[in-house]
């Protein structure tokens, strides 16, 4: 086997600052799938881009990065363009960002073939259609005339893969190509990438933050942390017997479905939240009606924990927003501690009463805190409003509560932007808890966090649940996360509840086809005998 991509002692940084990449060495051979895993800011993308000769402006670098003997650090523009056109392709995380929205899929695919490879338009079209069929897209001919907005994210990512494969590259670089996709869609894309890589004998460098995904696709893995390779080797060896502490932490933090070892107690208290026939429809300007939530019904006992799992568009977030009264139901009943919810926006006084019953923590820790308000004051404001405390007393209460969620007094006057994602999510939790709610809704509250941070925040949620006697409604796309936190589970698909019951039962013996598909779509390591089925 010959060396395809060879990175040696590659260091990159900005003058006067610590390096972003520090002596990274990495190698991909012909026909080999290699994973590059690490958390955000570890330098995964920088490393991969260097292989195409893409460097951030104003950066300084040293070492060697060579693709098929071409050193991209020193190569001229012309050589780099030839490399990108003919030998190495890249697939990015967000397919929609990489395609011109006003031109058709056909224009996008045939442009380079006509301009640089001297094909006629009809030859190029023929080749593009063939390529689209090969990546598993049906009705490829019609697809050529469609615009990007007419395609789903998964279909568009297949188009991007087709575009990347058009020139039969020897090296395929994938930068989190499935992170923006649903699990069931991801499973299809991963299978496609694996097939293409194997049948073409391409070398592939696959960047991901998801260890499970890396294990399901790649034979070898490099673990990157703060710009340094901490460990590398065969995927199985690295993940099953990690040598470095960091790798071990990462493996342990990666959520897996834990059936049986459920920490969540099964609650049998009186019902806190009762929902029946709950429906939410939206009227579109053109007269179309979208049913975001269709006839949902369930009951959540006091002290219980209910997970709501589904993919994008399943209606899970609509359900969460209805529970906290950010949306008004079209029909159906929602009763919280015996109080029925009116089918109209709440009055200010009603909202204040409701605030002591239910609180929510949102997904994005970067947007869910007021950027201008120091975090201590943000929490103190809630104490002043709900616990009728004076300025000084509220500050003391806020300090205590922040300490309980792991934010020390030295951060009391910090603004949100000075905090990390995990710290912000802790502050968001403290803000919600300051109202002393009985029910806490977590809307993908850990999805934007790195795995190690996610694990810590989940630990905190469990701890706080016990301390405050909270009832939990956890909305997420991640089955592994709910299997850990929730004793009861609801599976949603296209606005409907397709299955509900005890988490352990659903995970072990799913009764619905969609649930089975969802569970089967979770990436499985290559060394697992079980084939990936979807």
């Amino acid at each position: 086997m010959s060396q395809l991509l060879q990175i040696e002692n590659f260091t990159l940084g900005f003058p006067g600052r610590p390096p972003l990449l520090d002596s990274v060495s990495l190698q991909v051979d012909d026909g080999e799938a290699v994973a590059l895993v690490g958390e955000s800011g570890s330098g995964k993308s920088l490393t991969t881009r260097a292989a195409l000769g893409l460097f951030p402006g104003g950066s300084e670098f040293s070492g060697t990065v060579s693709v098929q003997g071409l050193d991209t650090l020193t190569a001229g523009k012309q050589r780099l363009m030839e490399l990108r056109r003919g030998h190495a392709s890249m697939i990015f995380q967000d397919p929609r960002a990489g395609i011109n929205p006003v031109r058709t899929v056909g224009d996008f695919l045939t442009e380079t073939l006509v301009r640089f490879d001297g094909l006629t338009r009809s030859e190029a079209t023929e080749r593009a259609v063939k390529q689209l069929e090969q990546v598993g897209l049906r009705r490829a001919k019609e697809l050529m005339d469609q615009h990007p907005h007419q395609l789903s994210g998964g279909m568009l990512q297949r188009v991007m893969i087709a575009a990347a494969l058009l020139n039969s590259p020897d090296l395929l670089l994938c930068d989190e190509p499935t992170t923006a996709l649903d699990v069931t869609t991801q499973a299809g894309i991963v299978r496609l990438l694996r097939e293409e890589q194997q049948s073409r004998g391409m070398g592939m460098l696959f960047i991901t933050h998801d260890l499970n995904l890396a294990a399901s696709l790649c034979e070898r893995v490099y673990v990157l942390r703060r710009g340094e390779v901490v460990e590398h080797g065969p995927t199985r060896t690295v993940f099953l017997t990690p040598q470095q502490d960091y790798t071990r932490q990462l493996v342990e933090a990666t959520p897996v479905i834990e059936v049986g070892g459920l920490g969540a107690p099964v609650a049998a208290g009186s019902p806190l939240l009762q929902v029946s026939g709950l429906t939410k429809t939206y009227q579109l300007p053109r007269g179309d009606v979208i049913t975001a939530l269709d006839d949902a019904g369930f009951s959540l006992p006091e002290g219980g924990s209910l997970g709501v799992v589904g993919e994008s568009g399943s209606g899970k977030s609509t359900l969460a927003r209805l529970v906290v009264a950010l949306e008004t139901a079209t029909s159906g009943e929602l009763t919280l501690r015996g109080v029925p919810r009116p089918h109209r926006p709440l009055r200010a006084s009603e909202r204040k009463v409701l605030a002591k019953e239910v609180q929510i923590v949102f997904q994005d820790p970067y947007l869910s805190l007021d950027p201008r308000i120091p975090v201590g004051n943000a929490v103190a404001d809630v104490f002043r409003l709900h616990q009728k405390q004076g300025r000084k007393e509220a500050k003391d209460s806020a300090r205590d509560l922040l300490a309980r969620v792991g934010i020390g007094p030295e951060r009391f006057d910090a603004r949100p932007r000075a905090l990390s994602g995990g710290q912000r999510q802790r502050v968001a939790l403290a803000k919600a808890l300051a109202a002393r709610p009985r029910l806490l809704v977590l809307d993908e509250a850990t999805s934007a966090l790195d795995v190690s941070v996610q694990a810590q925040v989940l630990d905190l949620v469990e701890e706080l649940r016990d301390q405050f006697g909270l009832t939990i409604l956890f909305v997420t796309h991640d089955l592994a996360v709910v299997s850990r936190i929730c004793s009861e589970l609801i599976v949603m698909h296209q606005g409907r509840i397709v299955e509900q019951g005890p988490t352990a039962r659903i995970l072990e013996d799913p009764g619905d086809d969609y649930t089975r598909n969802l569970i089967a779509s979770r990436p499985r390591p290559l060394w697992d005998a079980e084939p990936v089925t979807a």
């Binding site: 955000s40 950010l326 605030a355 609180q359 949102f362 805190l369 950027p371 603004r415 934007a448």
Partner: protein, 285 residues
């Protein structure tokens, strides 16, 4: 997940240490003009209205640094005193239109129902009227002087601020942090005035800075056509108008100085405004 999120910064902190040398220069020019005008009664070498018919249309000299006009009045003194009226007008207009525009924009942006739509149309309607035309209309109603143009200009510039504020509020309203306030049970006036409004001020402030320059030029133009400040009160626009006769006689300076000052201030204010909106816009995108 590797989501690269550029954090939008809100609040006055955005202004911190963000000026280029060009903007610093502009700021220095603006500050110098403001200070010279403000302290004109102390600093000006002559009484601006003192007529010296023995010394008309004199060129710059040790006695009269910038020369004299057709009535022998000291041009430097008139410029300094004129700044007081010429800068006062735009200041009142900018403060008035900013306060009114912010309030209307907040209401328009926050109300999802008919009120927001109606206000939006009203802003559109006001946009359609040129500010100068409204000012002339007001002058026809209330008479010449400073009051009518200032009132008209204030109304004319409200939609520039209100439209911007409205679009910012609509964006801000759907942000999770605002929704979190709602779920926490905070009252809407507290959230809107206490939390959302301060986050808009830097962006709106940049727009209002730009408005200052336009208003200054508009008011000078009104004075030039004789509808604004009336003689003998010194005003840059009025000074240019008074110098028309001298200009035809070949004496440029009496018209040149006030014109130069107007241009300098407008350019300086625009540079500062552009800089602020670029910086803030850049950080928002």
């Amino acid at each position: 997940m590797t989501l690269a999120i550029q954090l939008p910064q809100t609040g006055l902190r955005r202004y911190g240490s963000l000026l280029s040398p060009m903007a610093w220069g502009a700021l220095a020019v603006a500050a110098a003009v403001v200070l010279l005008s403000l302290f004109a009664p102390v600093l000006a070498p002559y009484d601006p209205d003192y007529v010296d018919l023995n010394n008309v249309l004199a060129g710059p000299s040790g006695q009269h640094l910038l020369g004299t006009d057709a009535l022998g009045r000291d041009l430097l003194s008139r410029l300094m005193h004129g700044g007081r009226t010429s800068l006062l007008g735009p200041t009142i207009v900018v403060i008035g239109s900013t306060v009114l525009g912010l309030l209307l924009g907040l209401v328009a942006g926050w109300s999802e129902g008919w009120l927001g739509k109606v206000l939006g149309r009203v802003f559109d309607l006001l946009f359609a009227f040129p500010a100068l035309l409204m000012a002339m209309l007001a002058i026809a109603l209330f008479g010449k002087g400073l009051f009518a143009p200032i009132l008209a200009m204030t109304i004319a510039y409200v939609p520039y601020v209100a439209r911007l504020a409205q679009s910012l509020v609509v964006a801000e309203r759907s942000r999770p942090y605002v929704q979190a306030y709602r779920v926490l049970g905070f009252r809407t006036p507290w959230v809107v005035l206490g939390r959302v409004l301060p986050n808009l001020i830097p962006t709106v402030g940049a727009q209002s800075t730009l408005n200052f320059g336009y208003v200054l030029a508009d008011l000078a133009a009104l004075s030039f056509i004789g509808l604004g400040v009336q003689p003998p009160t010194s005003d840059w626009g009025a000074m240019i108008e008074e110098s028309r006769g001298a200009l035809l006689g070949g004496y440029i300076l009496p018209a040149f100085w006030p014109a130069l000052v107007v241009v300098m201030v407008v350019v300086a204010v625009n540079v500062i405004g552009e800089e602020l909106s670029d910086r803030i816009g850049g950080k928002l995108s």
